[in-house]
Every structure is written in C-alpha cells, then in structure tokens.
C-alpha cells in the first residue's frame, strides 16, 4: 500500500482563513435579495399550559412596517415540524403546552419592526398548572409521553438479593442548552412553479426540505434546502431547525417575497429544546471480589411537551448506562416523561452522557461505600474478553480500554497525586482537592438502523479539479475537510484541488442528519466510493495511454504513474473528457453488519465503540462551594486519525462543553414553567479562564479501528463530551474527603450551590 499523503495530516480547517477574516458566510450574512421580509415568532408572554382564550393581534397588524401576520390558517397543508411523531405544530392552535410555544408570526419589512410588533399581541391563556420538573411529572396523573422501556435480565432480583455488598443511591442530572453561537436562522426564497429554496442553518437539510414541502403541500422535489455551514449545531439544529425554516418558507409563500427568520438569542433559548434532564436511582450489588453482581437502575427523563427525538435519546441513555462495565445481571429501566416545557432534543452525546454519568456516579458512590479507590473499582469491572456482553446483547469486540486506562494512570501520575491530594486535604480545612480517572465507551451508529446511510456526488472537471458534495453538514467539526481529504487521497491530488461545496438536497438526496458522530464514517465512505468509481474509469484510459497494466497504476502527487511513466492527473482528466468518459459519479454507503430488535432488546446496534479516558483534578472551597479544575489528562482512541488537528480540536472542545454541562451550566425553570436562564447573562457556558492551564490531550496509539471504517479511523464528535464526567467525579472525591465512608449527595451540574449542598450532606465542612 502506498503511504498516505493527505490522510492523517493536521491540515487546517478548510474555512479557517475565512473564519478569522470575517469572510465565512453564514445564513444571516447572505446578501438579501431586494424585498426580503423578516419573520419573528410570537408567543404568550405569560402561561405555559392552557387554552388560548384570547388572541388579539390587531395592534400587531397595525404596527408600522408589518406586512402580515401568519396564523395556523395560513398554512396550506401540514401544520407540523416534528421529526416523526406529528406532534409539533409550526403554529399552535387552540392551546399551548409550554411557555414560549409559537402561536403566530409577524412578517415585517425589517426585523426590528417585526420584533416590536410581536410584543403588541394581547394573548390570554386559561392557565392550568404546568408539569415542570421530573418530580412534578412523576406525581402527575398525566400519562408518560412515550412508553417505558427496559433491558432486564431474568435473575437481577436474585443477584441483588444474594450480593454481599449492596449500594443504593440517586442523583439529579441537569439538562443543557446547546448555545451554538449562531442562533437558529433560515432564509427562504420563492422559486418558479411554487418551488422554494431554503437556506437553513441545519444539521438535517433533508428534513427541512420535507417539512417545508409537506407544509406547503408540494412535492419534496419542489423544495431545495442548502446549508454551507452552521455557526455550531451540537444537536440543537438536528430536528429543531425545522420550525424556523418552515416559518420563513410560509412567509415567502404567503407574500411571494424572500423571507428570513432569525431568532433573537433569548427567544432561541426559550423556544428550542435542550439536553434532557434526568433523575436516576440505582441499586447495585457487588460480589466479594468487588465485581458487579447485578445492577438495577431506573432513569426518568424530562422530555418536554412532545416526542421529538426523545425515544432514541432515552434508548441511548440505556445503551450507555453500563459505560465500560460488565453487568452480569441488570435492570435498566426508563420512563419518558411529559412535561409542560420545551421539547427536549438532541445534544452532542444524545442521552449517552446521562447514561455514563449515572454509571460513574454509581461507581464513585460504591467506591466510597466499599472503602476502595474508585479507579481500582472501575478497572476491576471493565469489560473483558470473557465478560463482554452488553445488556443489549452486543458483544464488545475490541478491548482497548484497559490499556487506555493503564496508560493514563501512568502518564497522569494518578497514584502519586492521589497521595499528594490526601496530604493536601489533611493540611487544609477550607480548600479540598479531588481526583478521578474515568473511562468512557461510546457506541457509534444511529440506533435507528435505517439512518446509517449516506450519499455523495463527485465531479472531476477537464482541468483535473474536483467538485465534492455529500449529505453531511458542516458545523465546525471539520467534516467537509475530512471528506475532502478522503477524495484527495483517492485521486492522489492535493486537497486544495478539491472544491468543497454547500450541502444541498438537490445534489445528494434522502440524507440522514449529521449527527451521532457519524458524519465522517458515512459521508467519507460514500465520497470514497464515488471517487473510486471515477478513478476506475480514469485508470482504464491511463493504462491504455501509458501502455501499462491498470493494476500497476499509482495515483499520487498529482500524477498517475506506472513503470516509470506518468501523466498528470489534469492531463488524464482532459484525456478522459476527450475520450467521452464520464467524470462524475455518485457514491453510496450503508453501514454493514448492524441490526437492532427493539422489542426483544437485543441486537448489534453499534458498528463499533469509541473509547477514551480522562483524569481530572479539582480544587473546591468548602465554605462557598466554588470549584476550579486544576489539571486534566485525556487519552482518546480515534483509531487511525484522519486529521489529528481536527480530532484534538473535537476532544478539547467536547471536553470543555461537557465540563460546562456538569459545572456551570444550570437551566432554571420557575414553578410557572418559564425558563429563567434564557441568555448568556444568566446561563453560563465555560469561558477561557475555566479551562485548566494544565490540559494534556493525547491520541491513543491505535493500530486502527478493528472494523472497516474509513481509513480505519474512529468517530470523535460526541465521545469527548463524556470525558469531563471525571471532573464531576473529582468533585465528589473532594467532598468525600470530609468524612470517609459517606457518599456526598452531589447533583449535576456541580454549581457552587450544588457543591455546598453536597458538603452539607456530609454534615458540613
């Protein structure tokens, strides 16, 4: 095999130079066509649940600059923007089910005029008491949003009963706002014959296309969705970009003019879904050798008012409630609760983080109760070749975590620091340190098997330059570049000659969302197949021209060579065109070997697992609950990296995002169901000084993914978000130093107040 020229190189993001010079175009930066209108959603300022008894929009309509007001009756066909269940009205009719549910939309000559007008609505809700929290939902007679689901082994009760050690506990896991820096936005431009072009900041252009077409009552083929890039997505633009695209398209349809809908940040935070908050309770039994004998867990998820993606998210929480540990007997139950809050949705990790946090909270509590070091307990319970079956029947085929954990234990000097921390804690009465080393295993594939497919379109032009298009979207994760590297490698040309183009539903149809960390795995493979199809045809001609065997040809360095003879890739392309050889191809990929039977709870839902571990040290103040992360060591398995700079960026960025989820980011809803933290002034994502100065990130020296993934790489989008669970565990460790053997009751996020509650649960500092 020839050495790789492009794959594996730390090439800068294809848009980096555009980003830093302000030249990268996001939807709101596209020069508006003359006559463009602006759409602002309207909702009841007061009330979360109840019948709309008054909706007086006369002042809205009369306001300066207002062109029209959109109501449900203006929708030509389907009033729904849900991903599947049909329970998310674009414009609510008759009643609302959460605070901020959109009832109308103002179309104005300017965005400012529309914003001002939207506030003039007089809306009265016959208010009913909203179901806000998990506890509210558990106490309420309202049926669950979705059916409960569980993985339960036959002998779990007996295993718990006979276990020599038993540990029980519970925790609350907070949700998380995506806080993409670019808010939700869509720009719809009417086309001939009732068509619509929609520029949308979306992870799922096909769904935007379908939602808009269904709303307008036209064929999908009449609607095109384009997305060049998003200013961040993180799951928040997987299903929930649709409503704003639909409103823009509706305004464009009604007025015949282009229309843009861009949410104000506060509206964005109130009106769009977040990571699911969970409450979890566990009852775990350990054998004499401190291996889990049986584990019983119940997870309760706040889903919000509609289904959205909650079933798949809760399933993924269950798939990850083992994290990296073998449970011989198990019960992993979930309830998917209906609340009068915004419909919770995808967020990087998609339920996985909550599942793993649960598992690690359990390990941390068990170690404290059993009086052993948490790392030794974790190591003892890792999956092994002999103990390798997950609660959902998939066998773990690759056992690298033991090596990753052992390596990190050494490189992070865990044991030495453990002693130093004990000495520090003995000397200091106000400040305490904590340390935790936590493994993470994350399943790669959409668990809804049919979504594991992708398409690509590659053209080679007569001058040898290449046009690349595929179904994946770019939200900063470097997908476009990684796929371009694959194509450049395939043709043996410089990646600079591969033109990266905006994702469009008229180029590659029927795509899956860019989600589940699958973007590169799926689209990289599809693009490679498209490129290989063209390369095969080019090779035929090259072999003839050079008088060599086709199999002897090497495409490298911008040349096609064999037996000391060569011609440039550009010359070959020109020759192919002259010889009437097609230089365009689609490529298609469907992940092989995966299956999932939800009724039986058994199958092989994941193509493979991404593995990693992190070791975090924290310093807490037992008088105020303030906390600082002082050092982090990470070792992540990305298989053979396609681009180490991009991969390290995903790891560091994912870590800090997850650290925010578990530390400073707190969603506060009041008893009326109103979100009180709907702006960055009150909702605090990490900032630069929160990142530890001592932050050591390394890629695991992998021999390559065991399964046949693109160049044997591994997905890296979501898995690193789970690594900072070690930060949360380190906080528990620090608080636990106050009284050996007592488990601190720490909720997530570990805000100063939550840490003080944990300190108090120990009987004070």
């Amino acid at each position: 095999m020839k050495p790789l020229a492009t794959i594996g190189k730390p090439i800068a993001h294809d848009s980096a130079a555009l980003h830093v010079s302000g030249a990268a175009t996001y939807v709101d930066d596209i020069p508006e066509i003359e006559g463009t209108l602006h759409v602002v959603p309207g909702f009841a300022r007061d009330g979360a649940k109840g019948t709309i008894i008054k909706c007086d929009l006369s002042a809205v309509r009369a306001a300066p600059g207002v062109v029209c007001v959109l109501m449900p009756g203006d929708i030509p066909a389907r009033n729904d923007c849900s991903p599947a269940a049909g329970d998310d009205p674009i414009l609510a009719k008759g009643e609302i089910a959460f605070h901020g549910q959109v009832i109308f939309a103002v179309v104005g000559e300017t965005r400012e005029a529309a914003r001002r007008a939207a506030r003039l609505a007089v809306i009265e809700i016959e208010k009913q008491k909203p179901v806000v929290t998990v506890q509210d939902a558990l106490a309420s007679p309202v049926p669950d949003l979705l059916k409960p689901y569980a993985f339960t082994s036959k002998r779990i009760a007996a295993a718990l009963k006979s276990a020599p050690h038993r540990v029980k506990g519970s925790l609350k896991i907070g949700g998380q706002e995506q806080f993409y820096l670019e808010g939700q936005v869509a720009y719809a431009v009417p086309q001939e014959k009732g068509g619509m072009l929609v520029h949308s900041s979306t992870q799922h252009p096909t769904e935007i296309q379908h939602c808009v077409a269904a709303m307008l009552g036209v064929d999908d083929a009449k609607v095109t969705c384009e997305c060049r890039r998003m200013g961040g997505g993180f799951g928040g633009k997987e299903s929930q970009a649709a409503q704003w695209a639909a409103l823009a398209a509706l305004a464009a349809h009604v007025t015949g003019r282009p229309a843009k809908c861009r949410l104000d940040r506060d509206d964005d935070m109130m009106l769009t879904g977040k990571r699911h908050d969970f409450e979890a309770a566990f009852d775990v039994g350990f054998a004499k050798d401190l291996r889990v004998a049986g584990m019983s867990a119940d997870l309760f998820a706040r889903c919000g008012y509609s289904a959205d993606l909650s079933d798949a998210i809760c399933d993924r929480a269950m798939f990850h409630a083992d994290n990296a540990y073998f449970y011989p007997e198990y019960h992993i139950g979930t309830r998917r609760l209906k609340t009068n809050t915004v419909s919770n949705t995808a967020f990087r990790g998609f339920g996985g983080p909550q599942g793993v946090l649960f598992a690690e909270a359990m390990m941390q509590a068990a170690a404290i109760t059993l009086g052993c070091d948490a790392l030794s307990l974790r190591k003892k319970n890792l999956y092994t070749r002999a103990r390798n079956e997950t609660p959902y029947g998939q066998k773990i085929g690759e056992h690298v975590l033991a090596e990753i954990v052992a390596t990190l234990e050494k490189t992070s000097a865990y044991q030495r620091r453990r002693k130093e921390i004990a000495a520090f804690n003995a000397r200091n009465r106000i400040l305490k340190k904590g340390l935790a080393l936590v493994p993470v295993k994350f399943g790669i594939s959409f668990t809804f098997t049919q979504m594991n497919q992708a398409g690509a379109l590659v053209h080679v032009y007569g001058d040898g330059s290449v046009h690349l298009n595929h179904g994946g979207t770019e939200m900063g994760q470097g997908l476009y570049l990684k796929v371009a590297q694959v194509v450049a490698e395939t043709f043996g040309i410089d990646v600079g000659h591969v033109a990266i183009t905006a994702t469009r539903t008229d180029k590659v149809p029927n795509t899956s969302p860019t989600a589940a960390s699958s973007g590169t795995d799926l689209n990289g493979m599809a693009a490679q197949r498209a490129a290989l199809a063209i390369k095969e045809r080019m090779a035929e001609l090259a072999a003839k021209k050079l008088g060599v065997r086709k199999t002897a040809l090497v495409f490298a360095g911008g040349k096609v060579s064999a037996g000391g003879k060569s011609l440039s890739f550009a010359e070959l392309a020109t020759a192919c065109k002259a010889a009437r050889i097609s230089l365009s191809s689609t490529g298609y990929y469907a992940t092989p070997g995966i299956h999932w039977d939800r009724p039986s709870g058994k199958g092989h839902p994941f193509f493979y697992f991404a593995n990693g571990a992190s070791c975090s040290e924290v310093l807490i103040d037992t008088l105020t609950g303030e906390m600082k992360v002082t050092r982090v060591d990470i070792l992540q398995d990305v298989g053979l990296s396609l681009n180490s700079a991009i991969d390290i960026g995903q790891i560091e960025g994912g870590f800090v995002q997850g650290m925010g989820w578990l530390t400073t980011e707190e969603l506060v809803f009041d008893a009326e169901g109103r979100l009180r933290t709907h702006a960055p002034s009150t909702y605090k994502i990490p900032c630069a000084s929160d990142v530890p100065e001592d932050f050591r990130v390394a890629l695991f020296a992998s021999k390559g993914n065991k399964v046949d993934s693109i160049y044997r790489s591994k997905a890296v989008g979501e898995p690193p978000l789970l690594l900072p669970i070690s930060v949360w565990c380190a906080v528990v460790d620090a608080v636990a130093s106050l009284k050996p053997g007592v488990v601190p009751q720490l909720d997530a996020p570990a805000t100063p107040e939550a840490i003080m509650r944990a300190v108090k649960s120990m009987g004070g500092p």
């Binding site: 800068a12 010079s21 707190e666 960055p680 009150t682």
Partner: protein, 471 residues
C-alpha cells in the same frame, strides 16, 4: 453637525441616524460589513467585538468593545476597526495567522470577535501572560474549541505584535485631531444624540434636558434597546468629555470622575486594596470594562452591581451635580430602594471619593458566581475592619445580591465591634432576607454570606489557602 469617525483610513460622516441605532446594526445593515456577528445582542458573548481607537497623549489607544450594545453615536471622533480590516492585500494579520496555524476556529462564528479582542490585547501590551490572554478573552464565548488553541494563538501573536496600525498610527492621530474638541449634537426634531466634549458642557446639557437619557458606557441601557425594545429618543453621552473621566489621587482619598470607565480606574483602585482590583478583573468582561463606567454602575442602582458594596464598605462618598449645583452624600444613602436612587432628573453622578485604607484598616471582598469570569454575582461581600491589637474596633460590611439595594450589615457590624478575631467567628450575620432566583437560592445566599464573613476573619487571623482563585 454630523457624526464622524475614522474608518479604513477615511473620515466617515453620518448625517442622520436614530439616536438609539446600535453600532452592530449600523455595521451589518447599513455598511453591510457582515464579518462582525450577532451572537446574543446583550454584550455577553463577544461575537460582535470591534475595536475603537482614540487618541491619548498623541498615540492611538485601542480597546475592544461590544458593538451590539454600543450606540452608533458613541464612536464619534474615534477610529472603528472591524475584522475585515486586519488583513493586508490578502495576507492575514499576525493574530489571524496564529489562529489559523493553531487551529483556533471550528464553526468560526465567534472567531471574528476573538480576533478583535486579541488584536486589542496585542496593541495594549507586549509579552503577554496566559492570564492577560484569558482576561482579554473573558467576554468572548466559544462553544467549539475549548479555548486552548485560542489562548495559545493569543500568546503567540501578542508576544510582540507589529502591524499596519502601528505603521499608520500618526496618520490616524492626525485624522482624528480635528474632531476632539467639538461637542456633538445630531438632532432630528425632538430626537437627538448629544456628546458634549467637556464636563461643563455635559452638566449644562443634562440640566437643560432633564428628560433625556444619560448614557455613559451603555452596557446596561444598550440592553433596554436590544432586549426590552424601549426606544431611546434623546441621548446624552458622557464619554466624549475627557475631563469627566479623570482620577485624582490625594494622600487620603482617590477621587474618580463619574465618566471614568472601569478600565480607567482599575489600576488605581487595585492599588488601594488588592481585593478591589481582583474583583474588578472579574467584573463584566474586558469589553464591558472598556465601555462601562463606575458612575454608571452607581447611577442605575442595580442590586447586583459589584462596585457599590465594595465602595460602601470603603465608606465612599458621592458628589452629584445638576447644572452648577452640587451635593454630597455617603454612597449608601444614594440607594433608596429597588430601582430607586436619590438622583434628580438631569443630575449626574459627578464624582466619587474613595477614602484610602489607614494602616490599621483591612479590606476583603469576595465575589461568588457560577462562573468565575463575566458572571453577575449571586452575592458579593465586602468588609472593612479596623483592627487594634487583635480586636475589631470598627467594621463596615456591605453586600450585593442580598437585598433590593447594595446594603450594609449594620447589626453585624455592631456585633463584631470590640470582639477579637476569634470571638468574631461566633457572630451571626442576619441583616438580610435575600430572595431566590436563577443565580442562587435564598438559603445559599444567607449561608454563604455568613461563610464569607468567616473567611474574611480567618484570613485576617492568618489562615492560608482560603481561596480557589483570587477574590
């Protein structure tokens, strides 16, 4: 009269504009420069960061500000620099190149703001430390990268920055020279934006138009426009009056003019008491401290403003001025009730007198937040103790976030007086009945207020390792 500012080497004149036009809207909608982004429209994310240049002692002085909550009129007489202006002939600026080389952008939406913050840092300081960089970036949120590569890019690019703005500095100084002395008044009927160029003109203008909105940094009033959609038709901007932004240092007190920004006053206040400086470094962000003023923070009377409790504990006095009339009061008397201050229409928060600590006086301040940087305090405790031979002979304690106004803990002060530091640990702080909100519960606030008193006393008694970070 027209608004004038320096842009890309040329003076730009804007004859007509609504007084409450925000700079970001001007850039994106009028000038159609779309490199500067709107992330939150409330000055908290920094995606809209631009740099303003102004002449100080014959040199250009550059500072990063949030364009989303800055009124267009505030840039009169200044140079406006945005992200599109840095590269020269297709060659990236050193800050931009370092960002590319170190993989410091992912989605790229926040990136222009980071570039501008680092550009300003590189012009303000050479050989920057990691803390300089994180302080400069506290007002820039990035959701993708985890900041590490951005911090590294800042360290690299700002080690010894040289760029075309250094080369063209005197041209900019010359271009702006003619604009500095004139009062600005752009009016349309009853609407106006006024920016008097002297303190006396400012006082006269405010007295003549008592109904007008007095704006200094706009870091709060800006949000009334962008979030509450409350039009501001008559604005008197204080920031043009250079003689309204001075500090006067005397042996017994520091005098701070009402128009001095946090950044103007930070070093002098930090020298007065280290905790004061440390809290100020965490107050808002670099962009906010570059725009916002201490006078404005006092004037708008926020119960969670960080300066008032510290200044009250230091026994600061306030001078107010209406036209040519002035009056003085202890700062604490200015805060009457929630949203209600002892300020008459047209009256300006003119000057603040902050007494210096005597040798036997000790000052402690603690700001408690969910996030260390750029976060509004759940509570802030400020303490000044007079200690003679281990006995507290006087105490002044004030808290923010514990009541509807910044408020002293008079009962606790009395209980502490005459006690040894050790005996003082038993004093119960129960002057307040705080509320629960999104920042903290009432119980946490009460318990933490007590804990902060304890911490202050322990520190005074010599306890080490009492803080996770400074202040």
């Amino acid at each position: 009269m027209a608004l004038q500012f320096l842009r890309r080497g040329k003076l730009v004149r804007v004859e007509h504009f609504a007084p409450d036009t925000m700079l970001l809207d001007y850039l994106r909608l009028t000038e159609r420069s779309r490199g500067t982004k709107e992330g939150c429209n409330e000055g908290d994310c920094g995606a809209c960061t631009v740099v303003l240049g102004e002449v100080r002692q014959g040199r250009m002085h550059y500072r990063a500000v949030n364009a989303c909550i800055l009124f267009l009129g505030q840039i009169h007489g200044k140079e406006l620099i945005t992200v599109e202006d840095l590269a020269v002939g297709g060659k990236l600026h050193p800050v931009q190149q370092a960002m590319v080389d170190l993989h410091a952008s992912q989605c790229g939406f926040c990136t222009p703001g980071f570039v501008m913050s680092l550009f300003a840092l590189g012009h303000a300081k050479q050989a920057v430390s990691r803390e300089d960089v994180t302080t400069a970036l506290a007002g820039n949120l990035c959701r993708c990268t985890g900041y590490r590569p951005i911090i590294d890019a800042g360290l690299k690019a700002c080690a010894s920055l040289r760029d075309k703005f250094h080369e063209d500095e005197q041209k900019a100084v010359a271009a702006l020279a003619g604009l500095s002395a004139m009062d600005l008044l752009v009016a349309d009927g009853a609407d106006f934006f006024a920016a008097p160029a002297s303190a006396s003109a400012l006082a006269a203008m405010a007295a003549r138009h008592p109904q007008a909105r007095i704006v200094s940094g706009a870091t709060d009033v800006g949000l009334w426009v962008t979030k509450l959609l409350r039009p501001q038709r008559q604005i008197i901007y204080t920031g043009r009056a250079a003689d309204f932004a001075q500090l006067h240092d005397t042996p017994s007190a520091l005098f701070i003019d009402g128009g001095a920004t946090y950044e103007d006053a930070a070093a002098a206040l930090g020298a007065l008491a280290p905790d004061l400086g440390a809290v100020m470094q965490r107050l808002g962000s670099t962009q906010v401290r570059n725009s916002g003023t201490i006078g404005g923070n006092i004037a708008n009377g926020s119960p969670i403003g960080d300066m008032p409790p510290m200044l009250i504990a230091l026994d600061a006095r306030l001078e107010l001025r209406q036209g040519s009339e002035t009056r003085h009061m202890p700062l604490e008397q200015f805060f009457i009730d929630y949203g209600k201050q002892d300020r008459k229409p047209g009256e300006l928060v003119w000057r603040l007198e902050v007494p210096k600590l005597r040798a036997n006086q000790h000052f402690k301040a603690f700001k408690v937040t969910k996030r260390f940087d750029e976060d509004i305090s759940a509570l802030l405790g400020a303490f000044r103790f007079d200690i003679e031979g281990g006995i507290i002979t006087a105490a002044r304690i004030a808290f923010g976030g514990m009541a509807a106004t910044p408020k002293r803990a008079l009962k606790t002060e009395a209980a502490l007086t005459g006690k040894s530091l050790e005996a003082a640990l038993d004093v119960v702080l129960d002057d307040y009945a705080p509320i629960s909100d999104m920042r903290a519960s009432a119980a946490y606030r009460s318990e933490t207020a007590q804990a902060l008193l304890k911490k202050a006393l322990l520190e005074l008694a010599g306890e080490k390792n009492t803080r996770v970070i400074a202040a």
